[in-house]
Symmetry: C2
Subunit: 418 residues, 2 copies
């Protein structure tokens, strides 16, 4: 079989699984999720053994500690994964929710109803927890998923996927709702990405290189999770203590995540009073500052920023700092250098807040709070499969609803069109 | 400039226009639509002259009458186009609508708000009305649009786009919210379709060949409008008169449109009583029937169907007719041959209706009414830019809401993440 034929066959089995799932109710899907959690626990030692082999191989290859840490499982982490499946089970079922409804004068009842999205390809790096979370979220949404995880986690993923499929089978659900690509080659991934008609959506999750590769090679729709170059604009007359608190939390509470702050913008009109205390708080927290000329004049500890510091995602305890000319200057900087992820303003001026909410083009706009709130759990989605920075279909944290589409349902009593 | 540079420059001007539009309110956009309608009327004779030149050229080339008719404008048609702009003006503004909202215990207010989608590429055939309707819908949604119409309508489109841009300018709105591709070559269209980052969405509207070309060459997201292979399943025990009425309306009221019926499925259990009267009504309306063996045995006037009659879009007074084994048989036929556009059931059995609503995977599912209701106007959207059969982002008639995306807006009073 050619690669394309292999993918087409996989896609047909996955599509058939979605048809079978469409006949099952919420309780049946929930029973499947309970069974998956049980299987993960029952097969704990086999899963940890497979994972230990992956970890040993990664260490032999000289993989960085941070990446090995993402790959490694232990009993506590495996239990957390099983619990996450149960948490997804306990979320409301998005399928069947009536989004809008009206009855026409002629009695025709028009509804728009949430339905499963279809067959989803999940492409990710060596993070075994994603294998299970993606399977659980897609199952709850009534979708089928084809998992293509990083090859460094191949044994772990195979063991986890086997547990998931065993759980599905025990609950009388179609095993092909969750399948894996056994061939880890780039060629097979490319075949998956061009399988228009078989795959309804590809979700890449990982570094920028992976996402660019997927976007480049995809003929199927892709929801992108590009980088988070998040800004905080401190407006003229803002509360310096509040601004410092927001900047420190956004930058330093977890510098390596996509909703962390990467660039602070301060209105030049108030920079002389605002910048020194904010900078002091950041420096006290161990943050390196890279400032434009006006910033460096006010904050001697700041290093001079270069042009490529604007729009840069450090994912580290480094922050770019720039003085701008008013709200206009901040909006222009963000329009040019922002990544459409999270943008925040600290202000006492409600008119400025409203312009910022309206004119900034990003998945999430934050007023007087930390950029770190842009997260599925924090925004009330319960669980997320990633954060979309693309504009189409979905924006922001991708929870269950993002894994559905809708259909129009028209109920009549014999109406025809004149 | 290379083609890609030309498109990038066009994209930057369009993006700048969306930023300018984001600062304007509903009244300003509505004033723009009023000015566009006025300009269309004021420039009526110039527009009709340009159109007459296109029509003459099309006739010289030997273009089919039906296509020339789609291309041709006259004073009444131009007035209808101007009125459609005013009708779009009078629709509610989707931008700023709060889709959901909640306040967390810590006081953080979370909203999901509709915002413009961005820069849209509209690719269509020689239908001048699409030029104006696409411009009006995207403007109302706060988007910018790049129009690439069929080359047979080049002069008409240039005259119409000039009127639209003049209207924008008179209303103080950015002219670059509406632009046209002056170079009608396929190479330029391909450059447009690969302009990832410049174009947020491509909407092809036309025949299947155009849509396949766009999908094949696009690196930007595409919402597809594929063919409508619509089925009506007549359940066992259905009301024969009702089924005949629905079939006749769905097939014969306007055979050339995408929501017209293309295939009738009848439960074999009741075929002997149901098929003859339904067939009689269709034959009396001038419809050719192509049936499977069991159908032909009951309806001698039917011609034998070939395998390629299943899943075929005739867009003509021809109907495929097949007897199937119960609801299961109908669901299996639709899953295999349907195009995901519109699927209908005629039944007295609510359990069957509910299985059909739930298990049929299509943009629109209809119970006991005509498939012809799958239309933006009929479903209450006011105006549509086409009907999407793709699953992602939007399904069914694309009205104003389909031309928006959303953003998360988080309002705080200094909250940070622990």
């Amino acid at each position: 079989m050619s690669l394309d034929e292999t993918i087409a066959a996989l896609g047909r089995r996955a599509r058939a699984a979605t048809r079978a799932l469409a006949t099952r109710d919420t309780a049946a899907k929930n029973a499947g999720l309970t069974a998956i959690a049980s299987e993960l626990r029952a097969r704990g030692s086999a899963i940890l053994e497979a994972n230990a082999a992956d970890v040993a191989r990664a260490r032999d290859k000289g993989t960085k500690d941070a990446l090995v840490d993402r790959l490694a499982l232990n009993p506590a982490r495996l239990e957390a994964i099983a619990k996450s499946v149960e948490a997804i089970r306990d979320l409301p079922d998005p399928v069947g929710v009536v989004v809008e409804e009206h009855v026409r004068p002629d009695g025709l009842r028009i509804r728009r109803v949430r339905v499963p999205l279809g067959v989803i390809a999940m492409i990710y790096e060596a993070r075994p927890n994603v294998t299970v979370e993606a399977a659980a979220l897609t199952l709850k949404a009534g979708d089928a998923v084809v998992l293509r995880g990083g090859s460094d986690a191949a044994r772990s993923n195979a063991a986890l996927a086997a547990a998931v499929r065993a759980g599905l089978a025990k609950a009388g659900l179609p095993e092909d709702a969750v399948s894996t690509l056994d061939d880890p080659s780039r060629e097979m991934m490319q075949a998956l990405l061009r399988a228009d008609g078989s795959i309804d959506l590809a979700i890449p999750r990982g570094g920028e290189a992976l996402i660019r590769f997927v976007t480049e090679h995809a003929r199927v729709p892709v929801v992108q999770h590009y980088k988070g170059v998040c800004h905080l604009f401190v407006d003229a007359g803002a509360d310096a203590a509040l601004a410092a608190k927001l900047a420190v939390n956004a930058k330093l509470s977890r510098p390596g995540v996509c909703n962390a702050l990467e660039c602070l913008l301060v209105d030049a009109a108030s920079a002389a009073t605002l910048l020194p205390p904010i900078a002091e708080a950041l420096l006290a927290g161990g943050c390196e500052l890279r400032g434009d000329e006006r910033t460096c004049a006010l904050v001697p500890q700041a290093k001079p920023a270069r042009e490529d510091d604007w729009g840069r995602e450090y994912l580290d305890t480094i922050l770019a700092v720039r003085t701008v000319d008013g709200l206009e200057g901040a909006l222009a900087h963000i329009a040019r250098f922002g990544s459409g992820h999270t943008e925040a303003i600290c202000t006492r001026d409600e008119a400025h807040a409203e312009r910022f909410r309206r004119e900034v083009d990003a998945a999430c706009v934050v007023v007087n709070a930390s950029t770190r709130f842009h997260d599925g759990g924090e925004l009330g989605l319960g669980a997320e499969i990633g954060i979309a920075t693309s504009r189409l279909h979905w924006r922001g944290p991708m929870g269950l609803e993002s894994l559905t589409t809708m259909k129009w349902v028209v109920d009549g009593a014999g109406q025809v069109r004149p």
